[in-house]
Symmetry: C2
Subunit: 86 residues, 2 copies
């Protein structure tokens, strides 16, 4: 597959710079980065003694949990739609 | 709201222990932790020189991106269903 749509953008998350490579728009990547930054600051506010790597891991855990919830809701809804079609 | 359903469980992610507090079942928390661990190892394999905090932040970015995609799909589907009802 061609990589012609790949973009490389630099974002700032929790005071550090990251280069993100992907096919998404720069604005989408910036939104994702800013949501991660917000979530890290939220987790840090609740646990001020955690170091950056623990804040980041707990952020990933938190987002993974939200992801599974939404994915589950989507699958349930698809099943309901399928049942109505049958 | 009562906190009587809150659970405290310790999980191992990327060689470090984390205490997760939540109302979810232990098995759900373990699945989430193991998915974060897998994703961190995947990102580390692609960028072996990154330190743990960068691996964790990039994992959070990655999962946040997946979360937004699924959330978007769910919202689109809900809109289609609503339109069919109207």
């Amino acid at each position: 597959m061609s990589d012609h749509t790949k973009r490389k953008i630099t974002v700032d998350i929790y005071g550090q710079q990251y280069t993100i490579v992907g096919s998404e728009s720069s604005s989408h990547i910036r939104i994702v980065a800013s949501m991660v930054d917000d979530k890290m600051r939220e987790i840090n506010a609740m646990n001020p003694r955690l170091d950056i790597s623990k804040v980041a891991v707990l952020t990933a855990v938190n987002v993974m949990h939200e992801y599974l919830k939404v994915k589950d809701e989507l699958e349930q809804l698809k099943m309901v739609i399928q049942r109505e079609k049958d």
